[in-house]
């Protein structure tokens, strides 16, 4: 039964700020699916890229403490942001193998290191825990006729053996989820190519080049829109899309959806519940054209 699925929920900093619509659509979707999400009390930043680039012990400690806090809530830990997901999994992986680091972290956080809790990305919860069949059964407004380019980015499935979400170099989990929602997932070449991530702050030129290649590939494959599972990928592809079009004198007009927004539409949620108005590239014309709004 749907209501036996309970999770602790770690939104991460982005979902409480620039990616507010990802948080909103996640809560609304899961509520509609009857999956309970309880936010981890007093959680704090996972450290993302800055922490592990500067101080490994800091990065491991931040995540280890968050994992420990998560133990207070019943259920596995649900994570929406690919970067938080990657950091938490990395921490578990590193501390499982390295006793010395584990001892250092335990001293730093002044608490035992708990590594047996399961950290799951939303995709895993939808595709495996809930199951694609039950997901499809919950769909009341299938996304028929919508061609979606599923964009994984770097951190959802890599490096091998850390996230263990799906095949590292040829995953299909996003496609399976969006197809269960009735959409058509296109085959395109840049599903796993980097968007430039944090370079958006320090070397935006790099980001423009990389995201241009991604959008170009999606367009060449005939996609109507792009679907992501990471706030930073979203930012680079959505917020910067106009700039990309200007610099490379091209036109994409590809709305960038969070996976929970698209699945939420299929499950019958309204635009306000999914935060569609927060998207820079306006999705309304496309959705109206496909009869999905």
């Amino acid at each position: 039964m749907n209501d036996t699925l309970k999770y602790a929920y770690y939104p991460g900093c982005s979902l409480h700020a620039s990616a507010g619509e990802y948080d909103l659509s996640t809560r609304e979707l899961f509520h509609a699916l009857g999956i309970s999400l309880t936010e981890v009390p007093d959680w704090f930043c996972c450290g993302a890229t800055p922490a592990h680039n500067v101080d490994e012990l800091l990065s491991l400690s931040l995540c280890a403490k968050n994992l420990e806090l998560a133990e207070q809530v019943e259920g596995d830990l649900a994570v929406a942001c690919a970067s938080c997901f990657s950091r938490l999994k990395f921490t578990q992986h590193t501390l499982e193998e390295n006793v010395t680091k584990r001892k250092q972290v335990e001293k730093a956080i002044d608490a035992p290191v708990k590594l047996d809790g399961k950290v799951k990305h939303l995709l895993e919860i939808l595709a495996k825990d809930l199951g694609l069949e039950r997901l499809a059964a919950s769909v009341s407004k299938p996304l028929a006729g919508l061609k979606v380019a599923c964009y994984y980015g770097c951190l959802l499935t890599r490096p091998t053996d850390v996230p263990n979400l799906d095949c590292p170099e040829a995953p299909t989990i996003m496609e399976r989820v969006v197809e269960a929602a009735g959409a058509e997932a296109v085959a395109w070449s840049h599903r796993l190519e980097c968007c430039g991530a944090n370079f958006t702050l320090s070397r935006p030129g790099v980001v423009l080049q990389l995201t241009n290649a991604i959008l170009d590939s999606a367009k060449a494959a005939g996609a109507d829109c792009v679907m992501v599972g990471c706030p930073l990928c979203h930012g680079n592809l959505d917020i910067r899309q106009k700039e990309i079009e200007s610099v490379y004198t091209t036109s994409y007009n590809l709305p960038v959806f969070y996976l929970t927004q698209l699945v939420g539409l299929a499950v019958g949620l309204a635009s306000e519940q999914l935060g569609l108005d927060a998207m820079i590239v306006n999705p309304t014309p496309l959705l109206k054209e496909k009869g999905l709004l």
Binding site: T160, C167, P168, E169, A170, P171, S189, L192, E193, A220
Partner: protein
């Protein structure tokens, strides 16, 4: 009663400088059972040995202890001398008072006391020594060779030319293996089939070689010199004795589009087929899975047109038992593929290269078939997808190999050379084509190898880019290859018409199962393990079984042929005697006490423990006990220390002997 003779050697000054040898001889002379005790300057010398032999006879000695250097030095010498004097050699022991005493202790008193104790210990031990007769095992002078590639062919020819019968078993319908698939071979670029087919024909015509093709090994029983091998001869559906090899059946077969494994599935064949025109034997096989007659009951055209009436749809698999004395394993290799591997497999595929789904991304062997004059395209390099000639080919080295994260850590040895060869073949056939090679290192150590590689760059215009490829994907009808050039420090993108991957060399599928049938060891990759990496590269730890070729590890043709001849030489050494003589330091089971728990079998690394039924006079089974095959046992004694009932004893190192030594100290 024992009459032990003790001989203390001075070893010139080596022992006598720090050990008072006369005193030792005196002290030991007083021990009960010692009939003679004396010292001498050089026991190993001719006069020393003569003294030994004479004393044995004069004094009617029952046992001998020679106190001198290490037994690892001269045990054989003294045992031979003792045997010449009429005493069983295993009643002679050595006491090491040089390497373990005189050479390592300066204090004469300490050294002398220690030497006396050491000799005394060996005196007590030798009292418990028993006569151990040499073990002889009869040898059947016929050899089995498993695998009909170049390794198996070479080994078979060498052994057969030496006058011994060879049974050669090959799984495929024809011998030739992978070498027959190659177009030209490095470093000379001579045609592979041209140099190989004469050898194949020699095998077919050799009076001493019994060739079984389309056959597999079903069961192996026995031990060195005395194997019984059951061979399953699969049903060809063609009577080999009647078939003349005319080939009419193949021209009339309606099923013409079955992918031919020999042509790496880019060439097609019929249901009744020979894998390639120069196949040996030239007798077709019916692929029953794809044959209309076997699938639906209709057709049967081949039988109708066969003049000699050789087609036999009723033919069945047969089991044949061949007795042999030695086995050469030459099962060769298979190529790694980049497709998606099952979950949990230690070896991973290359999702980043499309998991094998992009049609113009091929492997090296497929390129060989394209380049081969007798291949499916008549030697034209064309794209499998649309048959067009590729103007830009990207070759990528080390696919699977040297990739810990993919599960294979080793280097496949031959790919640097064959990739250079491919660039040259491509250049010869497509003059305006450009070859790019992404590589990490160029491993070209053999004779004329480096020069060959340099030729590819300097004369044949191949562009070598040192760097790896992170991804390749289909874009329109091109393949975009994303790599890096680390010499310059940039990322490189090439739009190629075709990509050729130098995939890793792996053992054949089923190599582990065959190894288990044979009782030989293999490593985690399923390569067969040699007995000693440096000094015994063609033997297995299991006596009587030898290795040749890529089944033992990746190697090129010259090395394979060398190893095959080496294995054949080992077989010939085995066959040079009618009986195999072995040192009698082997384990024996005391059957009265054995309960048949077979803990000994679990710890025996040589598979020397067999089952033996103990029956009463009426023939009823009482119990099944362990039996140690004296032809196979290597004499380590692990079984004895493991046996919970203390029912197995290692001759030469019995508990009695050991306890006697300990009690003497």
């Amino acid at each position: 009663m024992s009459r032990i003779g003790v001989f203390i050697c001075h070893c010139g000054e080596n022992i006598s400088r720090t050990v008072d040898v006369e005193r030792v001889a005196q002290e030991v002379g007083r021990l009960p059972g010692v009939a003679f005790s004396s010292d001498y300057k050089y026991m190993c010398s001719d006069p020393g040995q003569t003294l030994l032999k004479k004393t044995i006879q004069d004094q009617k000695l029952s046992h001998v202890v020679v106190a001198a250097c290490s037994p690892r030095m001269h045990e054989k010498t003294f045992r031979k001398a003792v045997e010449a004097a009429g005493l069983n050699p295993f009643l002679c022991e050595m006491a090491n008072i040089r390497e373990h005493c005189s050479w390592v202790h300066e204090n004469i008193e300490e050294a002398t006391v220690k030497a006396t104790e050491i000799v005394g210990m060996m005196v007590e031990r030798v009292k418990k020594n028993r006569v151990l007769p040499t073990i002889t095992v009869p040898v059947t002078k016929r050899s089995l060779v498993i695998g009909g590639g170049i390794a198996g062919i070479q080994a078979a020819l060498d052994i057969a030319d030496a006058g011994h019968e060879v049974v050669l078993v090959e799984r495929e319908p024809s011998i030739g293996g992978h070498m027959a698939q190659l177009s030209e071979t490095f470093p000379t670029l001579d045609c592979s089939q041209c140099i190989m087919t004469p050898k194949m024909v020699d095998v077919a015509n050799h009076p001493k070689i019994k060739l079984y093709t389309y056959s597999e090994i079903e069961l192996v029983e026995g031990f060195i010199g005395n194997f019984q091998v059951t061979i399953k001869k699969k049903a060809r559906s063609v009577d080999e004795d009647r078939c003349t090899g005319c080939g009419v059946c193949m021209t009339k077969c309606p099923q013409k589009k079955i992918p031919n494994k020999f042509d790496q599935n880019i060439g097609m064949r019929t249901a009744i087929y020979i894998p390639f025109p120069q196949a040996v034997p030239n007798t077709p096989v019916i692929d029953r899975e794809n044959c209309t007659k076997f699938k639906t009951g209709k057709c049967g055209v081949c039988q109708k047109v066969c003049g000699p009436g050789a087609v036999d749809f009723e033919q069945e698999d047969r089991l044949i038992v061949e007795p042999v004395g030695a086995i050469v394993v030459a099962t060769g290799f298979d190529l790694y593929t980049i497709d998606e591997k099952p979950k949990g497999s230690p070896i991973k595929g290359y999702g980043e290269f499309g998991h094998g789904k992009i049609p113009d991304v091929i492997d090296g062997m497929t390129f060989e078939r394209l380049a081969s004059a007798s291949g499916p395209t008549g030697g034209k390099i064309v794209r499998p997808s649309d048959g067009k000639e590729p103007k830009q080919i990207v070759f990528i080295q080390c696919i699977g190999s040297r990739a810990r994260e993919k599960g294979i850590s080793y280097c496949s040895k031959v790919c640097c050379m064959y990739t250079a060869k491919h660039t040259m073949l491509y250049h010869h056939k497509v003059h305006d084509g450009q070859a790019y090679v992404f590589f990490m290192d160029a491993r070209t150590p053999g004779k004329s190898y480096d020069e060959f590689w340099r030729r590819a760059i300097e004369e044949e215009e191949a562009v070598y880019i040192r760097g790896m490829v992170s991804r390749l994907y289909q874009k329109g009808d091109k393949i975009v290859v994303m790599g890096s050039d680390i010499a310059v420090g940039v990322q490189v993108e090439i739009e190629a018409d075709m990509v050729v991957l130098a995939t890793a060399i792996q053992p054949q599928k089923g190599a582990d199962l065959l190894a288990q049938k044979l009782g030989i060891s293999y490593d985690k990759y399923n390569f067969y393990s040699e007995a000693h990496a440096k000094l015994r590269p063609v033997e297995c730890a299991t006596a009587g079984i030898y290795l040749a070729g890529a089944c033992q590890g990746p190697k090129d043709i010259p090395e394979t042929v060398s190893q095959a001849s080496a294995a054949a030489a080992k077989v010939m050494t085995l066959f040079s005697k009618d009986k195999l003589e072995r040192e009698p330091i082997v384990a024996r089971v005391r059957e009265a006490g054995c309960v048949g728990c077979f803990a000994c079998r679990k710890v025996c690394a040589y598979g020397a423990v067999e089952e033996k039924e103990i029956r009463d006079r009426q023939g009823n089974l009482i119990k099944v006990v362990a039996y140690v095959n004296p032809g196979v046992c290597a004499g380590c004694g692990t079984c004895q220390a493991t046996c919970p009932s203390k029912c197995v004893e290692l001759d030469g190192y019995t508990d009695e002997q050991v306890i006697a030594m300990i009690e003497a100290l």
